[in-house]
Symmetry: C2
Subunit: 341 residues, 2 copies
């Protein structure tokens, strides 16, 4: 993941943007991995950085810190954040905790724990906000190669394979890259997470209704999920009570050009750094997560698609996420049940 | 795999090339999958095709056969070839049995069983021959992105990560695509398999010595394995006692141009169909299998690399292949031990 330049450069930029705050302060890096974010914080002037990771990669991180002559500043602790003993409270928590679709194998609960246990009043959390989005998508090429392919295979009618092909291709959520051309509407904000305010017991489950108006006609092939995170170092303020980072834009405002949803300008503080995994942004290792439906539904422009999505921890395996998606279009209701394993 | 056009079109071409032989005859398709090869045989005029597969995909294959009005000709049998009861002996055995690196999860032993149990004297096997190749490779880009990357990560010396990076990237065989530019010598034929002559007890183990002369200087990063199969319908002849399909070419014959090993013309019967997974050919889903070494060795042009390779069924899991590779270059001997899982 360190090779994901978009990710690493967003974190680096955010750290240096907050160097006035970080200078001579104490930082806690939750899930430090190779230790790169801790080292960036040391470069930004931190007096002390506690780099914590439960994985054995922390042993390598300690070597990396040593090689770079930072052993005095960066203290690597191998263990779960809930169990390690840190010598002092901290001014800054930094963490790259986001999983696929934000919530899959996310470490947010560790960040929340660290905040409640170790963050001084007035301390900052980077990133400070995260938002999960949902949008209907069309993907004719993907459907053609996975499904339509079987209708005529070297002149042979293999449509008997269609049920199996649909199951193999689309039963589970697909982590893959789409483009802005695939997205049929403005995204709906499903889950704004304010790291200063969130409590653990609301995670990682999510239940949200949505209502979307399509900006283009075409076959609906599924729904995409993606997220962004913001690095607002400011401590909790009234702005934290607002949800979402997208401007409310009506479809008639002219931003929808040639079937493409152009990048929406965020209602953001000047120079606020955002790491976005949206289809129209530079690709990241998170890509997008697509919930494909087995049979495309033709939708018109300006058609309403509404429904709800629920994500909850699987009882089978706490790592897994059960997803229950309902969508209503063309006057009919449909359900997609799936598990992200 | 049916989407691998190179594979499917080679089989189709081979079937139609042998349509004079197939017409009004009985065919056995070992591991029929979706049934596509069986249907091609029906199109080529077979009187009866027995399509056998142990997997439940055979149930779909039966539906495909029905949809295409071929239920009278193509009889789909769900079961292991060693257990199904076929009503008669057959004139033709067709099978797509090749695994990665030819031998990994190969179904050759099922083909050999079918030959000994069901093939009439004078019957044909498609494909008739298979050959496994080995060649040293250089892959500076792959090594740089997997290993050298850690030497300077956003200005941080992360060389402490190198041992872990080498293990993660190169411990196991990698199925990936290289090009002719990566290949440092003519390939060595490791294992010519004559489907008319082979016996089961020699498979899937393999032990072979090799001696190669490099055609270019550069860092040796590992060894590539690939294979080809030939569709010589002719029944066993003296030519079956010859091994390999590549012309013996000295490196001084001028075919080695600009560091690229050009396609070698096979010493082949006119119009003989060959399905090749070599780096210089159109890509297939088999790609090539690369055994990377942890530390590159600089080799000169015309340098000898010699050694041995042994592949044997794992005791841990019969599906796994243990690979023991020895290579000597620059006067020193090295060993790579790995498992293909």
């Amino acid at each position: 993941m360190i090779k994901d330049r978009v990710r690493t450069e967003a974190y680096r930029a955010a750290i240096f943007q907050h160097s006035d705050f970080i200078k001579d302060k104490v930082v806690l890096d939750v899930g430090c991995g190779t230790g790169i974010l801790s080292i960036f914080c040391a470069f930004a002037g931190a007096r002390k950085v506690y780099a914590v990771d439960a994985s054995e990669i922390a042993i390598q991180a300690r070597e990396v810190v040593k090689t770079n002559g930072l052993s005095e500043t960066v203290v690597v602790l191998v263990g779960r954040i809930e169990e390690v003993q840190i010598e002092e409270e901290v001014d800054v928590i930094i963490s790259e905790w986001m999983g696929y679709m934000l919530l899959y194998e996310s470490m947010l609960s560790s960040v929340i724990f660290a905040r409640d246990r170790w963050l001084k009043p007035g301390g900052i959390i980077l990133p400070s906000h995260a938002t999960l989005y949902l949008a209907p998508i069309t993907n004719v090429e993907r459907y053609a190669e996975s499904i339509d392919f079987w209708r005529d295979v070297y002149g042979i009618d293999m449509s008997a394979m269609l049920p199996l092909a649909k199951q193999c291709s689309f039963e589970e959520p697909c982590v893959e890259s789409i483009t802005a051309e695939n997205v049929m509407s403005w995204p709906e904000t499903l889950r704004p997470i304010r790291c200063y305010a969130n409590t653990v017991d609301r995670l990682p489950s999510l239940s949200s209704c949505y209502r979307i108006f399509t900006g283009m006609a075409g076959p609906l092939h599924g729904f995409a999920l993606w997220f962004d995170v913001k690095f607002s170092g400011a401590t909790p303020s009234s702005s934290d009570t607002q949800s979402g980072t997208w401007l409310e834009s009506s479809l008639s405002n002219g931003s929808h050009v040639n079937g493409m949803f152009q990048k929406v300008k965020h209602a953001r503080i000047a120079d606020e750094i955002i790491l976005s995994t949206a289809p129209e942004e530079a690709p990241t290792h998170w890509q997008q997560t697509i919930l494909y439906i087995y049979d495309p539904r033709d939708v018109k422009q300006d058609e309403q698609i509404s429904g709800s999505i629920t994500m909850s921890q699987s009882r089978e395996n706490p790592r897994f996420l059960n997803i229950h998606l309902e969508y209503k279009c063309g006057g009919r209701c449909y359900v997609k049940e799936t598990v992200m394993r």
